[in-house]
């Protein structure tokens, strides 16, 4: 089966919790384990936080878009911002690398996304924005699927 969801919201820190809880609610019909749920919430939280802090640093009224697609038991998530873009993606993905140590950023955002999802891809263009694509297989499929 296939199930899709798109959401768009203001790039403000208040919406970080909203975003991860919404995605968690969306995937709940797949009967994810608590661990899978935490993994997805952490990864979404990291990607949205990046969009808020880095993507729209110095830009007012930015919007973040999240596309979710579930195909069979695989969850695809896209977190998109139309902000600053990343100059050096490879560098940005290095553990402990951060451009904002003064904000107490740990430089563990991308490493956490990598650790908790099965696949991570980052596309970015300076001045245009960033797309973070993540994939994760969710263990047990719902019994409801069999009834359709």
């Amino acid at each position: 089966m296939k199930n899709e969801m798109t959401m768009e919201f203001d790039a403000i820190s208040e919406n970080e919790a909203f975003a991860r809880i919404s995605v968690a609610a969306f995937i709940s019909f797949l009967n994810p384990t608590l661990e899978e749920m935490s993994d997805v919430k952490t990864a979404v939280s990291e990607a949205v936080t990046n969009a808020v802090i880095h993507g729209y640093d110095g830009i007012e009224n930015g919007k973040v878009t999240i596309n979710c697609l579930i195909e069979k038991d695989v969850l695809h998530i896209e977190v998109i911002d139309k902000g600053n873009g990343i100059e050096d993606i490879e560098k940005a993905m290095e553990p402990l690398f951060t451009t904002k140590p003064e904000l107490n950023r740990s430089g563990m955002g991308f490493p956490f996304m990598e650790a908790f999802m099965d696949d991570l891809e980052v596309m970015s263009e300076l001045g245009k924005g960033t797309i973070v694509q993540m994939k994760k297989k969710i263990g047990s499929t719902s019994w409801i699927e069999d009834e359709e």
């Binding site: 939280s45 904000l103 107490n104 740990s106 563990m108």
Partner: protein
Amino acid sequence: MEENFKVIDNYLMVKMPEEIDHHKSSYISENADRFIMQNKVNNVVFDFEDTRFMDSSGIGIIMGRYKKIACFGGKVFAVNTDNRIKHLLIISGLHKIVEIMD
């Protein structure tokens, strides 16, 4: 929320919230720093008893406080960590500088 910070002898006890993300992190960091300065404490204890969610912002909070107190010989402790929090501390390498106590 001030009641989440308590000074006992040379230790600042920080009761971490249910959800630790970027939105919540500046409040915790700023208050912890204020308590450390005002009370001249050397050590910080982060209590995760109530915490059900944490992302890398929590790692940033701990790293930042460690940098503040380590040069004066202070230590950072994490208590009441569930398996998830422990795992986060380990994959970010923080278990090398933070004493995890159960």
